[in-house]
C-alpha cells in the first residue's frame, strides 16, 4: 500500500526536499505538495534579479520532480493530527507523513500608516511586481526603505533601479547590524552613500502619513520628517508557524515549529524544514535560520530519514557572502565572540577586514570582510582550525603577498553542500578535470557559487594542469597569444609558430591565429601566408555544406531591404538554381553554389550593392531589429536605424566566435535582443545595453549591463565590450561562457569597460577605430583581383568542370542535395 507524503509550501527548501527525496528513489509513496503561492518554487535568494528582466521565468527552479502532484494556490489552513488530514480551501488531504516548509513572512512593525497604499514588503515576486508598478507611475520620486539589513539594502538597490531618490532608515547605529561590526558598517555606509543612497542610521520611523492616494510622509522618532512616495518595509522576517497553535504543535522561543536535530516535531508523523523550523541542536534553544543553506541541509536530513537514513543536523553555518549594491560583504563564523582580533581598514580603497582568533592566535573563530571578499572562501574553509597563512598576508588584496594556503582535508570547501576539501581532492584524483566536472560529481559550487574560486585553486594544486594551451603547437592560451602578437608586433603565423610554438600548426591553432591577426593587422585576410590559415569557409568566403557546395549570404543590415534588392536576390537564386531560405538573423541564405559559381554569383550581388554578410566567419553576423518607433505604435526609439548603424560599424569584425546582436524599439522586446551577445532595448530616455546572451545549445539571457545610455555612450561601451572580448576570450568561447568564466563577472566587466580599472579603454577604443577605418568588403576585394579569384575552381586541371558528384533533387519546389553515401553522424560546421 502506498503511503501519503504531503508537503506544505513549495518554496526553495521544499523544492530541495522533493529533489533529494526523488534522488533516493523511494518506492511506495504518493507525494502531494500543497502550495500557497500561485507559481512553483522560484529562486528567492536571487529575487532582486527579477529587476534585470522583469521575467519571473529567470528565477524558475525547474518545477516539482516528475510524479509529484503540485497543487498551486492551495494553502494548508489546518492540521488534524488525530485523523492525519490537512485542510485546504479545496478540501481535505490525508497524510501519513507531513513535511512543513512554509518559510517566513516579512515582519511589519506596528507603526501607524503601514497599511497605506505605496507601502510594500519584499518577499515574493508579486511584492516586486506591485512595487514596480507603483514606483514607476507618474510623479513618484522618493523611496525609503525601513531596515538597513541584508534585505533592506537589496530593496534599496531595487528602488535605485526604479529611478527613485533612495533613503535607507536603520534603527541600529550601523548598517547590517547582524553581520558586521562598527568598523565594517562605516565602510559599507561610505560605499552606499557613494551610490547616491541617503543612509539614516540610529534613526527610527515613528509613523507613516498619507491618504487613499498613498503614503506621503515618514516621521522619525527624533522629530524629523521625510516626504516619500514609496516605502519598503524590510524590518526582518517571522516564521510562518500559524498552523502550530490550533494543531497543538510546540513553537520555538522566537516562533517557528520546534524540531530536534532530525527536524522532527514531537509528532512522529510531522517534520519541519527551512525558515519555518525552529531548530534545536543538542538540546539547545530552538533557532530559526533565515538563510537558504541551513534550510537545504534540513531538506537533506528529512529526505534521508524518510528513506531509512539516520542523518542529523549539525549547528548550521551562518556564514554569508553577498554583493550588496555592488559592494562585497562577507561574514563568517562567530565574528562577535571574544578573542584576539586582527583588523585592517583601508579608507582609500574602502576595504575593511576583521579576523577573530582564539587567545592563543591558533584557531580562526570568525571574521568580517567589507569591500573585498576575495579571501572569503579560504577563510571560511579554515574556520575552527589554524589559519593557512599569517593573518595579514591572508587579508592582503588578491594577487599580492601570494601566501600559499594549505587547508586541512576536513575543511569544508562548499558549505552549501557540505563538501570537504578531501571530497574535492578525491574527485580530482578520480578524473574530474574542471569546475564543471567537480560540480557534477560533488555538487560543490552548485549552490551560491562562492566556493568556485577555491575549487579552481584546488584543481590547480591537484596537478590538474588547467591546461590553457591552445593545442599541441602552442603552450599559450588564446589570450596570451593575443598579447604576444600585439606586443611583439607579430604579423605572420610562421613567425609566431617558430618563435613561440612548435610544428606546423593544425586546424585548431591556425584559424585562431588568423582571427587574432585579423584584429591586430586589419585588412584583407586571404593574401599570402594568411590564406593557408583559414578554414574552408573563410578561404572561399562562403559556408561549406554537407555536399561540398557553399551557401551565399549577402549582408542585409538590420534586416531592412528595398524591393529592388529583394528582386536581385530572387533573380540570382533563380538563375543559379539556389535553394532559398530566410534565416533567423533577418537575412536570406542561398544554398547549393559550387566553388566556381561563387565569383559569378557575387559579381551580380556586388553590382546590385550587396556586400559580404560574413556568415562564414567567426565574426559579427547580424544586428536584428524590430520595426521600432518608425511604425510601431509602442516604439520609443528608432531601433532599425540603430541596428543598421551598429551592423555597419562592426561588420567584418573577427572574434573568437560568431557575434550576434539585436535592437528592440521598446521593452516588449520583439527583436529578442536578450538572446544575443549584445542586445539593445530602447527606453524612454535612451538605450539599455544587455550583454552575453546566447541562443543555441546552451541558451542564456543576456545580463543588463548599463541603462538609459545615449547613442554615443552606447556605441562606446559596445566597442570596448567587443574588443575586450576579442582580446581575452578563449578560442570558440561565446561571450556568455566568457563572462561566466570571468573572475568578478559582470562587475569586473563594468570596472574595465566603464571605470577603466585596467587602463585599457584608450587602447580598446583605438583598436575598434582601426577596425572601422580599415573595413573593406571582402567579396569586392576578391572580385577585383584575378590572383585572388584563381582559387575558385572545382578542379585545378579542369577549371570549367563542375564537381560531377554534386547532385540535386527537388523538394518543395527547390533544389536540395541528393543524399548519398554514409549520412554524417552530427551536423557540424559554422552556421
Amino acid at each position: 500500500m502506498s503511503r501519503n507524503l504531503v508537503v506544505a509550501g513549495h518554496g526553495m527548501v521544499a523544492q530541495r526536499f522533493l529533489e533529494a527525496f526523488a534522488d533516493r528513489g523511494p518506492d511506495g509513496w504518493t507525494v502531494t505538495v500543497l502550495a500557497e503561492e500561485d507559481r512553483p518554487a522560484y529562486d528567492r535568494v536571487r529575487l532582486s534579479a527579477w529587476f534585470d528582466s522583469y521575467d519571473a521565468a529567470d528565477l524558475d527552479l525547474g518545477g516539482a520532480p516528475a510524479g509529484v502532484e503540485l497543487r498551486l494556490g492551495q494553502p494548508v489552513t489546518a492540521i488534524d493530527r488525530d485523523r492525519r488530514v490537512v485542510s485546504t480551501p479545496a478540501g481535505e488531504t490525508p497524510y501519513d507523513v507531513l513535511v512543513l516548509a512554509t518559510g517566513s513572512r516579512a515582519f511589519v512593525p506596528p507603526i501607524s500608516g503601514s497599511d497605506l497604499p505605496g507601502v510594500f514588503v519584499y518577499r515574493t515576486i508579486e511584492d516586486l511586481e506591485q512595487l514596480k508598478e507603483w514606483s514607476t507611475a507618474n510623479g513618484r520620486r522618493v523611496g525609503a526603505v525601513l531596515g538597513g539589513g541584508l534585505l533592506g539594502l537589496e530593496a534599496a538597490n531595487a528602488l535605485r533601479l526604479l529611478g527613485l531618490e533612495t533613503h535607507v532608515v536603520e534603527f541600529a547605529p550601523r548598517l547590517m547590524p547582524l553581520q558586521v561590526d562598527e568598523g565594517g558598517g562605516a565602510v559599507l555606509k561610505r560605499h552606499i552613500e557613494g551610490l547616491g543612497v541617503t543612509v539614516h542610521t540610529a534613526r527610527g520611523c515613528a509613523g507613516l502619513e498619507g491618504g487613499p492616494d498613498g503614503v506621503t510622509r515618514m516621521r522619525f522618532n527624533d522629530g524629523g520628517e521625510l516626504a516619500v512616495d514609496v516605502v519598503v518595509v524590510a524590518a526582518g522576517i517571522r516564521p510562518r508557524d500559524e498552523l502550530a497553535e490550533a494543531a497543538g504543535l510546540a513553537k520555538g522561543p522566537r516562533g517557528g515549529f520546534l524540531v530536534d536535530d532530525a527536524c522532527a516535531t514531537a509528532d512522529p508523523a510531522i517534520w519541519a524544514i527551512g525558515e519555518c523550523a525552529s531548530l534545536s541542536v543538542a538540546g539547545g534553544d530552538g533557532v530559526c535560520y533565515g538563510l537558504v543553506a541551513p534550510g537545504y541541509a534540513m531538506a537533506e536530513v528529512v529526505a534521508d530519514r524518510l528513506t531509512g537514513g539516520e542523518s542529523k543536523m549539525a549547528l548550521p553555518d551562518t556564514s554569508t557572502k553577498l554583493k550588496l549594491l555592488g559592494v562585497d560583504v562577507a561574514s563568517f563564523g562567530a565574528p562577535f565572540a571574544p578573542g584576539l582580533d586582527v583588523v585592517v581598514t583601508d579608507q582609500v580603497t574602502g576595504v575593511y577586514a576583521k579576523l577573530l582568533l582564539t587567545d592563543d592566535a591558533k584557531t580562526l573563530l570568525g571574521g568580517i570582510l567589507v569591500g573585498d571578499a576575495s579571501a572569503y572562501p579560504t577563510l571560511r574553509a579554515s574556520l575552527g582550525g589554524p589559519l593557512p597563512a599569517a593573518p595579514l598576508a591572508m587579508l592582503a588584496p588578491a594577487g599580492e603577498g601570494g601566501a600559499k594556503m594549505d587547508l586541512p582535508g576536513t575543511a569544508q570547501v562548499c558549505s552549501c553542500h557540505a563538501v570537504t576539501k578531501d571530497h574535492v581532492t578525491d574527485a580530482i584524483a578520480g578524473g574530474c578535470a574542471d569546475v564543471a566536472g567537480l560540480k557534477t560529481c560533488t555538487k560543490a559550487g552548485t549552490g551560491c557559487g562562492s566556493c568556485i574560486p577555491l575549487l579552481k585553486q584546488l584543481l590547480a594544486a591537484g596537478g590538474v594542469a588547467q591546461s590553457k594551451a591552445l593545442c599541441e603547437h602552442f603552450t599559450y592560451s588564446r589570450q596570451e597569444l593575443f598579447d604576444i602578437i600585439r606586443v611583439r608586433r607579430v604579423t605572420s603565423f610562421s613567425e609566431l609558430v617558430s618563435e613561440y610554438g612548435s610544428g606546423r600548426g593544425c586546424d585548431i591553432c591556425k584559424p585562431a591565429i588568423a582571427s587574432i591577426l585579423a584584429t591586430t593587422n586589419p585588412g584583407y585576410i586571404l593574401d599570402g601566408e594568411q590564406a593557408a590559415l583559414q578554414d574552408t569557409n573563410d578561404h572561399f568566403l562562403a559556408n561549406i555544406q554537407r555536399d561540398g557546395t557553399y551557401s551565399v549570404v549577402p549582408r542585409i543590415p538590420g534586416g531592412e531591404i528595398t524591393p529592388e534588392k529583394l528582386i536581385v536576390i530572387g533573380e540570382v537564386a533563380r538563375d543559379f538554381g539556389l535553394y532559398t531560405k530566410i534565416t533567423g538573423g533577418q537575412r536570406i541564405d542561398l544554398f547549393g553554389a559550387r566553388v566556381e559559381q561563387l565569383p559569378v554569383i557575387w559579381q551580380r550581388l556586388v553590382d546590385a550593392g550587396f556586400e559580404s554578410g560574413h556568415a562564414y566567419g567567426k565574426a559579427l553576423r547580424t544586428v536584428k531589429s524590430c520595426v521600432g518607433e518608425t511604425w510601431c505604435r509602442y516604439g520609443v526609439q528608432d531601433s532599425v536605424g540603430l541596428a543598421i548603424d551598429l551592423e555597419l560599424r562592426y561588420r567584418g569584425l573577427r572574434a573568437p566566435h560568431k557575434l550576434k546582436s539585436a535592437v528592440s524599439g521598446c521593452a516588449r522586446e520583439c527583436a529578442e535582443a536578450r538572446s544575443k551577445d549584445f542586445g539593445i532595448i530602447a527606453t524612454e530616455n535612451g538605450w539599455n545595453l544587455y550583454v552575453a546572451g546566447n541562443g543555441g545549445f546552451r541558451p542564456r539571457h543576456a545580463d543588463l549591463f548599463l541603462t538609459d545610455l545615449s547613442t554615443q555612450d552606447l556605441v562606446r561601451y559596445i566597442d570596448r565590450f567587443l574588443m575586450y572580448y576579442i582580446r581575452t576570450a578563449d578560442r570558440l568561447q561565446r561571450t556568455s561562457a566568457w563572462l561566466e568564466a570571468m573572475d568578478g563577472g559582470l562587475d569586473h566587466l563594468r570596472d574595465v569597460i566603464v571605470d577603466d580599472s585596467l587602463g585599457l579603454c584608450a587602447e580598446l577604443d583605438a583598436q575598434m577605430a582601426q577596425h572601422v577605418t580599415a573595413y573593406a568588403d571582402e567579396w569586392r576585394a576578391t572580385l577585383d583581383d584575378p590572383d585572388r579569384l584563381a582559387r575558385f575552381v572545382s578542379f585545378v586541371n579542369a577549371p570549367d568542370t563542375p564537381d560531377p558528384d554534386i547532385k540535386f533533387e527537388v523538394e518543395r519546389g527547390q533544389n536540395v542535395p541528393t543524399r548519398q553515401g554514409p549520412v554524417p553522424v552530427t551536423i557540424g560546421g559554422a552556421r
Binding site: 610544428g503 593557408a532 549520412v823 560546421g829
Partner: protein, 116 residues
C-alpha cells in the same frame, strides 16, 4: 600500395607554383578526384578528395598542418585529421582515404592514378 604499370601512368595536373604552401587543390584525373597538397617544406602529397565520413569531395579544402610531426590534413566538414603520408584517419582508427603517388617534374605536378 600496389601499382600495376599497365593501367597507371603519370598525369600532369598543374604548375608547382600554382600550389600554395599548406593548402590543397583538387584535380580530376580520368574521373577520379584527387586532392593534392604542398606542405611547408615543399613536399607533395596526394589523397582521394572524398571525405570518407561526410561523403563529399572536399578533402582538398582542409587545413594542412601536423600532429606530433606527422603531416596532416583536417576534413573541412567534421574536422577529423588524416595522415597525409598514409591516408589513415588519426581520430577514427580504421577509416582510410586512398593515397596516390605524386611528384614534381620540371616545375609541373604529376600524379599517378590507377585506372581500372
Amino acid at each position: 600500395m600496389t601499382i600495376t604499370t599497365s593501367t597507371a601512368y603519370w598525369t600532369t595536373v598543374c604548375a608547382y607554383d600554382r600550389l600554395l604552401p599548406e593548402r590543397g587543390v583538387a584535380a580530376l584525373v580520368d574521373g577520379v578526384q584527387v586532392a593534392i597538397f604542398r606542405t611547408y617544406d615543399g613536399d607533395l602529397y596526394a589523397l582521394g578528395n572524398r571525405d570518407p565520413i561526410g561523403g563529399a569531395q572536399v578533402m582538398s579544402r582542409g587545413i594542412v598542418g601536423d600532429r606530433g610531426g606527422v603531416p596532416t590534413v583536417a576534413s573541412p566538414l567534421h574536422k577529423q585529421v588524416y595522415d597525409l603520408r598514409t591516408g589513415e584517419c588519426l581520430d577514427l582508427p580504421g577509416v582510410l582515404v586512398p593515397t596516390y603517388p605524386v611528384r614534381c617534374e620540371g616545375g609541373l605536378v604529376e600524379v599517378l592514378v590507377d585506372r581500372l
